[in-house]
Amino acid sequence: MSGNLKRICTVLLVLLLLTSASVFTSAQDEVTLGFVYGSFAPQEKWEAYFEGFLAEHPEVTINYIPVPLDSWGDYTQKIVTTMLGGERVDVIWNAIEAVPLMAERGVLLELDSFIESDPDIQEFLDDAHPKLLEGLRWNDQQYLLPFAWNTTLIYYNKSVLESAGLDEPAPDWTWDDFLHYAQTITQDSDGDGTNDVWGFHANAWLWHLGPWAVANGSFFLNEDFTEPWYDRPETIEAFQFVHDLMWEHGVAPTGSFNFREAFVAGTLGMMIDSPAGRQRLIPAGMSADDYDVNFFPSKSGQGATGSQWGTDGYGITKDSEHPDLAWEMVKHLVSTDVMSKLLSGEFASASAPARTSLASDPVLVAASPANYWRFYEALEGGRTVINAPYFAELAEIHDRYMSQAWANEMSIADAAANIQADMEAVIADNS
């Protein structure tokens, strides 16, 4: 046994040495830049973004810090904890939702001085969609440079529509048209009480619910997110329509439902998704000809094309010891070269590229359905996702009551009234 003990001690010692070695090896002569990214895509795919930059700056090593991305709120919280935990971060990939919070917390560096003193960036500023650039500003400062953006539309599975005897929907369809589509698609072919095909799937998520309100001339809150609009009849009416699809008409399943899986399997006719949704359909074996996208329907067919949009981007931390090098890296990341990796949908993300010059790129067109341009329309007339310093609190309030409405335990009107009151309180607390 004492021999065993010796062996155990040796193993322990070796393991300790190994762990401590891995802790201390980062102390080297060259420059290391910490890069935080959402680890929904593996590191190799992000590494592809840096090839050109590393060739140009051989002294740089990138310390990839993958952070899980469940929601932008959690992601941002984890970045802040990572930095509190003592990890050196130079460049951050994050989304518009988090800009106000990270700016107010003093995490992000203002980029305006870099922009003014660097003529190279003008080309990008001219090319990037102005709404995206504007969206990533806070308190008159640019904090992130836009990379890829998203908005939501209605995806429809063409073969499901076809087998239900439906033509492709008109862009200015009404709620009645939409309900008719959903009802026609929904089927219980073997009569076992469980629908085999569903017309639609409705989530209570902000990201999915917002466009219904936009298409009805309203939204969650006003433009600068200081005044909740859950008390407006247009908002309530829009949410009620979606709610009725589940509880009144039975054309959308209740409870958790893997809608993307069902869409691919042909057991769901219509769903809500973004340009990034293409990336989920490609590996599932769905080609761009198998589905298409349409605007959200409006109550009376007024043809509202706007949806709700958000964008991601790259920024620099205030902690960075090499801000100039970090700026070079950010510039590289938003270059045409890197951004065109988005187009095929096979790299880290399949969101739409921020550069307008890439909008009609043949690679993008080939990987996208015929009506892909509707995403651009939806961005043009759309509202930004909630981006206030207290966005996580607002999101939580929405989820709290809407989830109860979705379980049909609270009426939409009551949920909206509760949300209105709670959001007003949070906003008052923060102003």
Binding site: I8, L12, L15, T19, V23, S39, P68, E87, A262
Partner: protein, 301 residues
């Protein structure tokens, strides 16, 4: 004449009556056993069925999940979902991290708990009682009280987002110390005295007398520690942020959040990949594990 009377009066079969009674008694016991076992067996099905479903769905393709009734036996052994798991996340890395953390924690606890257990059981030193009572009292305090200060300490040690954060705080346990102390107290004094007479120091006594005898309680401790460390979730959730440092439970949650996982079969495949090593571990060490739980129960009672 009834059969019974016939049997009773039949000199050719003197034991017939007794034999018949015995038979009916056996038969009744058999029936009682079956009646008793039936709900228990049904209950054990509830324990098994979810695991069986996980396996069968892990071979399935999206369209099959919506084809009800769900096939209990997969139509084909398609490994596509397993491929996707390895493609989407660095599953082997999660596994390796779990192995590293669990191994270090287990070895560290075996050493530290046996040392402390020995001291508390067999050595006299001032403050022993107070310290031991303090140890025991700490079992009452939920770890959430210490959470934020420990976060700051771990950060100060430079262990944040490092596997060390999952090892160092678990390098010893009060439960293990208690378990070993109870055991060492049962060792007869004579064994120790003989060694003392031969001039053995305390370290030598610990190493060559105490440890060799402590095989069973150490094995029990090792297995219980291994199991709880392997399944630890809350600690990694707080101290690990990057996916290359994740252990399996956190990695599973992370896999679910992956954008590209459109197919529930992939999640099921990952679940099966989690179950296999745990079940193998369970089958090998089942006896010890059961003993360990039993022992901890008896000690408490």
């Amino acid at each position: 004449m009834t059969n019974a009377a016939l049997a009773k009066g039949n000199p050719l079969f003197p034991d017939f009556n007794e034999a018949r009674d015995k038979l009916s008694h056996n038969w009744r016991a058999y029936l009682a056993n079956v009646i008793l076992a039936l709900p228990l067996v049904l209950g054990s099905l509830i324990m098994f069925l979810p695991l069986v479903w996980a396996v069968s769905f892990s071979f399935g393709q999206p369209h099959e999940f919506f084809k009800l009734p769900p096939p209990v036996i997969p139509s084909a052994l398609r490994l596509d979902n397993y491929d996707v798991v390895f493609e989407r996340v660095d599953f082997l890395r999660f596994f390796l991290n779990s192995v590293i953390v669990t191994t270090c924690v287990t070895i560290a606890q075996l050493i530290s708990c046996s040392m402390a257990g020995y001291a508390f059981a067999r050595l006299r030193f001032p403050g022993k009682r107070i310290i031991f009572i303090g140890f025991l009292a700490s079992m009452m305090v939920p770890q959430h009280v210490t959470l934020i200060p420990v976060f700051i300490i771990i950060r100060g040690m430079g262990l944040y987002n490092n596997l060390g954060a999952l090892i160092v705080p678990y390098a010893t346990s009060v439960f293990g110390t208690f378990l070993l102390k109870q055991f060492f107290e049962t060792i007869p004094d004579e064994l120790e005295d003989a060694a003392k007479i031969d001039g053995a120091g305390f370290l030598q006594i610990y190493r060559s007398i105490m440890l060799p005898l402590a095989g069973p309680p150490l094995a029990t401790l090792a297995i219980l520690t291994f199991n709880s460390s392997w399944n630890n979730f809350f600690w990694p959730l707080i101290f690990i942020n990057s996916s290359d440092k994740m252990t399996l439970p956190l990695g599973m949650l992370y896999l679910r959040g992956q954008d590209g996982v459109t197919n529930s079969g992939v999640l099921m495949a990952a679940i099966v990949l989690n179950l296999v090593p745990v079940l193998i571990f369970f089958l090998i060490f089942q006896r010890r594990l059961v003993e360990g739980v039993t022992l901890s129960g008896l000690k408490g009672a």
